[in-house]
Symmetry: C2
Subunit: 140 residues, 2 copies
């Protein structure tokens, strides 16, 4: 926890309890949580927690480059700790989202048609191996 405290301070962010718990959560939980998932979990420890705080904090973390937003074709935004660029796979059956560690040259493209690329997003949708297995047993 001390480490997280320093981590925030180094980036000019006052390390409040809320921010520390949120940071801890997204660091440990690599399941690309939504605001609601974060809220459900942390409000167990901080019962007075407000969802607005999560929104504020996530926006702050994004600005500071600590986390990145994830859009995989659902209605809501997901978050993950900022790591090396990678792709994602969303299963349309179970909703799970997996990291895809392909070494894609596409992440190295910095300019296209004269447009300057700041961020590149790659995601797949389909059926994950688990759901394929289950489906195969039940009805195919």
């Amino acid at each position: 926890m001390k480490k997280l405290y320093e981590f925030l301070e180094e980036r000019g962010i006052s390390p409040t309890i809320q921010r520390l718990k949120i940071l801890k959560y997204i660091e440990e939980n690599l399941k690309h949580p939504t605001v609601d998932m974060i809220y459900q979990e942390i409000s167990k420890e901080i019962p007075t927690l407000s969802k607005t705080t999560i929104y504020n904090t996530m926006n702050l973390f994004v600005e500071k480059g600590i986390v990145s937003e994830l859009c995989v074709g659902e209605g809501e935004v997901r978050y993950e700790i900022n790591l090396a660029p990678h792709a994602h796979f969303r299963c349309t059956e179970c909703g799970n989202i997996f990291d895809v560690e392909l070494d894609l040259k596409i992440f190295k493209i910095k300019k296209v048609d004269g447009n300057q690329i700041m961020h590149t997003s790659v995601y797949f949708t389909g059926k994950c191996s688990e759901c394929l297995k289950k489906k195969g047993m039940i009805n195919e």
Copy 2:
């Protein structure tokens, strides 16, 4: 218009005025419109038009494979006529969305980590050439 009529009939879709106008619009308008953009335009011709009809129709067209949904990291869904897979570039300054016709091998991947890929999405965000030009004149 006769062509569009037949186009829908061939796919088992009753060609109502609403559907014809919507299809015509997304066929002619390649700017990846949102539901609201479609609504604003077509309600000029059909004043009684309901937004629900647009939602219904777009979902129907997606099911039938006529159009595809587009998610480029905003809050809302965009649509485009179904063409060969391609990437998109969204300018964070002006909001414009451009097709990117790179021949990416990524669109050919059908399986990753045992997961079966049904759809692949690739989009870039950044500043488009137009906005870079303008910015350069004004403050850089």
